[in-house]
């Protein structure tokens, strides 16, 4: 396949307004000093050229619509198209955010219902929909913890406890909210080290950030004890909702003792990943954090009319995270998904996610792969380690990942969590069929054989894609990050 030229290669002298009388008249009231001196240096491709260019580029991508993505902790489930169709209806798409509430009752009702339903599935009392992604939801969550302690005059609680195995956004978010981070190790069986937790708890503890199931793919069995200890020390519990798919409809974070959490709507609620977003990181809270939720939120009055609650109604709110009401288009898609699933469908999600994960775990173990926690149940995901292949002939998790691409399967998450050497974190999700999983096992078995007999096939993979492994060091040193013409 020939490399695709950049869009800047298509340029035609068309009908420029620059330098015309029409333009000169229209801009006559703007001082010359404020105007652009030269023409904007952008190309002018024809419409057909634009269509062909971006259609061809799209064909150089893997996607859920075309490939299986067993990406641990990303929940790459099918993105229902009816949700996209609904969200793009003109009645939603053309709504200006400053439209007065009486003229947006249809939208406000949807947002209100979503607030209610997310509270129901998480076992919390209230929900804020505005964080634009999981990381922003985390930031809001820990900022609420901060606001809570400060409101009670407890200004010394400056430390946030975070497992060493946690996702990188956790310590980054805690720091952005003004906390220092204390890391808590995990035991060999996958549960948190309670002794280390006890040693770290004190009057300067603001709280702990956890996910359950953990990033190690197993359920944190001591969660009730952990909640008791942290609460006992005066701290609060934050739940990272990245792995909610494992327990959706089955276990509720509110019941586990968590005080605040975020959801990743682009994971659990099937909104599209879009090549890197947009997401939405709704936050849910128990009673004591309710006053601090970010604004705005939606309320319903006794006559069934909907309106925005803003700074005046929410004096203790941690404030705004974005200029408007968050990623409304994403929220619309999440609402459609929940509406489609309903009560029974939501309850099915975790059962089938767990079924697919445990099935894969058993079958991959049977063909020779080593599980990080072989004696534990998989949650919705599990970890394999290929450290044995590395010892055998130097084949690494990265090589397995790249070879999977040749077989038309996106690589699993690799090298996360950092605790397990040469690991693959595999999450099939509930929308994958048994046939698809069986094919994955066949391919993994074949790759394992290749790893032992013809390892160069892995080391030099991928062979069948538009490019092979790219020189990342050159990329960072040269830093060619824009074609400026």
């Amino acid at each position: 396949m020939n490399p695709a030229p950049l869009i800047f290669a298509y340029d035609h002298q068309r009908d420029p307004v620059h330098g015309s009388m029409e333009e000169a008249e229209a801009l006559a009231d703007i001082p010359q000093a404020l105007l652009r001196g030269d023409a904007l240096h952008w190309p002018n491709p024809s419409e057909l050229e634009v269509v062909r260019h971006y259609t061809r580029l799209s064909q150089r991508n893997f996607s859920i619509d075309t490939h299986f993505y067993p990406l641990g902790s990303c929940t790459m489930k099918y993105n229902p198209r009816i949700a996209h169709e609904g969200a793009m209806l003109a009645g939603f798409a053309r709504l200006h955010p400053q439209t007065p509430a009486p003229a947006m009752q249809g939208l406000l009702r949807i947002l209100w219902e979503l607030q209610e339903w997310l509270a129901a599935v998480t076992g919390m009392v209230a929900v804020g929909l505005t964080p634009a992604a999981g990381a922003q939801g985390e930031l809001a969550g820990v900022a609420m913890i901060r606001a809570y302690h400060q409101s009670r005059g407890d200004h010394q609680r400056k430390r946030m406890l975070i497992p060493t195995a946690a996702h990188g956004t956790n310590p980054a978010s805690a720091r952005m909210a003004g906390f220092t981070v204390v890391e808590i190790p995990t035991g060999h069986d996958g549960d948190l080290d309670l002794a280390a937790l006890d040693a770290a708890l004190g009057p300067d503890t603001a709280g702990i950030m956890l996910t359950n199931p953990s990033t190690l793919g197993v359920f944190e069995r001591q969660i009730v004890q952990i909640a008791e200890r942290v609460h006992g020390a005066g701290g609060l519990l934050y739940y990272d909702g990245a792995n909610l798919n494992a327990i959706l409809g089955r276990v509720r974070p509110g019941d586990m003792g968590f005080d605040v959490m975020h959801l990743n709507l682009h994971k659990t609620l099937a909104t599209p990943h879009g090549g890197g977003g947009p997401g939405a990181g709704a936050v849910a809270v128990r009673e004591r954090l309710l006053p601090f939720l970010p604004q705005p939120r939606v309320a319903r009055d006794e006559q069934g009319r909907y309106r925005w609650l803003d700074a005046g109604d929410l004096p203790a709110s941690i404030g705004r995270l974005s200029a408007h009401a968050g990623n409304v288009g994403v929220l619309l898609r999440a609402h459609a998904y929940l509406r489609r699933l309903g009560r029974e469908g939501v309850e099915r999600v975790s059962r089938y996610a767990a079924l697919n994960a445990n099935y894969l775990l058993k079958r991959l173990q049977a063909v020779g792969f080593q599980a990080a926690f072989p004696e534990r149940r998989a949650s919705h995901e599990f970890i394999l380690s290929v450290a044995d292949l590395q010892r055998e002939n130097g084949i690494r998790a990265l090589d397995v990942a790249k070879r999977l691409l040749d077989y038309g399967i996106h690589a699993p998450t690799v090298y996360f969590p950092q605790l397990v050497p040469e690991c693959l974190l595999i999450e099939p999700t509930e929308t994958e069929s048994k046939a698809s999983l069986d094919r994955f096992v066949e391919v993994m078995q074949r790759i394992r054989q290749e790893a032992l007999e013809t390892p160069h096939l892995l080391r030099e993979a991928p062979h069948h894609l538009p490019v092979g492994r790219l020189d990342e060091a050159l990329a960072a040193r040269r830093l060619d990050v824009a074609d400026r013409g």
């Binding site: 419409e47 269509v51 580029l57 053309r94 009730v224 995270l321 200029a323 459609a336 929308t431 400026r484």
Partner: protein, 449 residues
């Protein structure tokens, strides 16, 4: 079972392979007291019923001709933009960490970065942040990393209020001082700040919250003379005709941010939008967000990959430049296609039309008795109309006539009770402008009666 493909035979085979009798056994590690409950959710709808319900809800939002701006703008989006961005290969792709499997997305992001650097006159653009307001917060944090912690940020009081509120939250959590820079109530424009505060940066909005244009050269030079960074806040469509921030003053702006929504993103009641951030190459290591670079593979074939990932949360963790992970990939994809579809000529033409129509409406409204324009001086496609009645009452009356007349400045804590911020874009035909004027005439008469 919507979206779950398993038949009963398959389930039985899978259970057998695992060695369990039923699916509940998969949760045997969960403490019994945390068991399932009846969820208070409605029953699921079939797709046909769901489509109908969504259409009804969409129809329950009044269709309006839009004359409101304030950081979110109604523009024409060519049909091909979302046709292409909605292709499954783009819509359902993941973040491009496996570069070989993501050359489509990566090249689109590289093109996006290229479009933005050319538009803003800067050397480097990142691959997006959540929206303009949070991009501004990130730019302030970046300025502090470059200039030294402990300093303040100078924030003009005629910055969009919602953006200021976002700074109060995000920067407030790290106890970063924000010093207000007053604006002249006669002109709506920034005054040069007083004194020599020890600040890291001066924020300069072009265009300000009242639609007015600022003296960006003088403000940039003022900041640089005091060893401060100049953070430009710009409208990407306006940059088709306005001087690029890279050319402001003697040295050019240092950091440039803005709301990318005007570039092919539907209004959608406020989101998802995207924030852009561009800067000098010398500062790139302190820049948050993803960055795509061009490179080669072992066979010298050109390709694209994410670079400088060591700055980001998944590697640097607590010491990362930001906590951002998922950003606004799909919006940037659509924006890139939109920029290509318009081309340089199309973008410029659109900007010229917006301004021409805005001037036309302003002239028409000047003929309506009782109207005033409190801020003389240059503006771009948005201006303040001062009415002899409550702006809110006028806006609500025009709403009944299918017109969203503008934004009431008093609701923002700015201006006076009769002030309405009116925006005109290329969507407004000459008839639409006449309708606005006529509706306003009638409304003011009714309100006087």
């Amino acid at each position: 079972m919507p979206y779950i493909p398993h038949g009963p035979d398959e389930v039985a085979q899978m259970q057998a392979a695992i060695g369990i009798a039923d699916l509940d056994a998969l949760f045997d590690e969960v403490p019994a007291q945390l068991g399932s409950r009846d969820l208070p959710l409605p029953h699921g709808l079939g797709e046909m019923a769901l489509r109908r319900e969504m259409e009804e809800r969409a129809a329950a939002n009044t269709p309006l001709r839009c004359f409101a701006g304030g950081g979110a703008y109604a523009h024409h989006i060519p049909a091909i933009v979302w046709e292409l961005a909605g292709r499954g290969e783009l819509y359902t792709a993941y973040t491009p960490y496996q570069a070989e499997a993501s050359q489509g997305t990566l090249q689109i992001l590289y093109e996006y970065q290229s479009f933005l650097t050319r538009l803003t006159g800067m050397e480097v653009a990142n691959a997006s942040l959540y929206d303009g307001a949070s991009a501004l917060a990130e730019a302030c944090l970046m300025a502090l990393r470059l200039q030294g912690e402990g300093k303040a940020i100078l924030v003009p009081e005629n910055l969009l209020p919602a953006w200021r509120q976002v700074l109060d939250s995000i920067l407030g959590w790290q106890e970063i001082p924000l010093l207000g820079v007053p604006y002249d109530r006669q002109t709506g424009r920034m005054r040069l700040p007083e004194g020599n505060s020890d600040s890291a940066a001066l924020i300069i909005p072009q265009i300000n919250a009242c639609g007015g244009l600022e003296a960006v050269d003088a403000l940039t030079d003022w900041a640089h003379a005091r060893q401060m960074l100049a953070i430009a806040v710009v409208n990407p469509l306006a940059l088709a005709i306005l001087k690029a921030p890279g050319a402001w003053g003697q040295g050019g702006a240092d950091l440039v941010v803005g709301e990318g929504q005007p570039l092919g993103i539907p209004l959608s009641a406020g989101g998802p939008f995207f924030g852009f951030l561009t800067c000098r190459k010398a500062h790139v290591r302190q820049m948050p967000g993803r960055l795509v670079a061009r490179t080669v593979d072992a066979r010298e074939r050109e390709g694209f990959c994410l670079t400088l990932q060591a700055r980001e949360q998944h590697i640097r963790r607590g010491k990362a430049t930001s906590n951002i992970c998922t950003n606004q990939g799909l919006m940037v994809t659509a924006a890139t296609i939109h920029m290509a579809a318009l081309g340089g000529d199309g973008l410029r033409r659109t900007a010229v039309t917006c301004h021409a129509q805005a001037r036309r409406l302003r002239d028409l409204l000047a003929e309506v008795p009782g109207t005033q324009f409190p801020f003389p001086g240059p503006f771009f496609h948005e201006f303040v109309l001062r009415l002899p009645r409550s702006a809110r009452a006028v806006r609500d009356a025009l709403l009944e006539r299918g017109i969203l007349a503008g934004i009431c400045l008093a609701e923002w804590g700015m201006g006076e009770a009769g002030d309405l911020l009116v925006c005109v874009t290329e969507l407004a035909s000459d008839e639409d402008l006449l309708d606005y004027r006529d509706a306003l005439l009638v409304t003011l008469k009714d309100l006087s009666a």
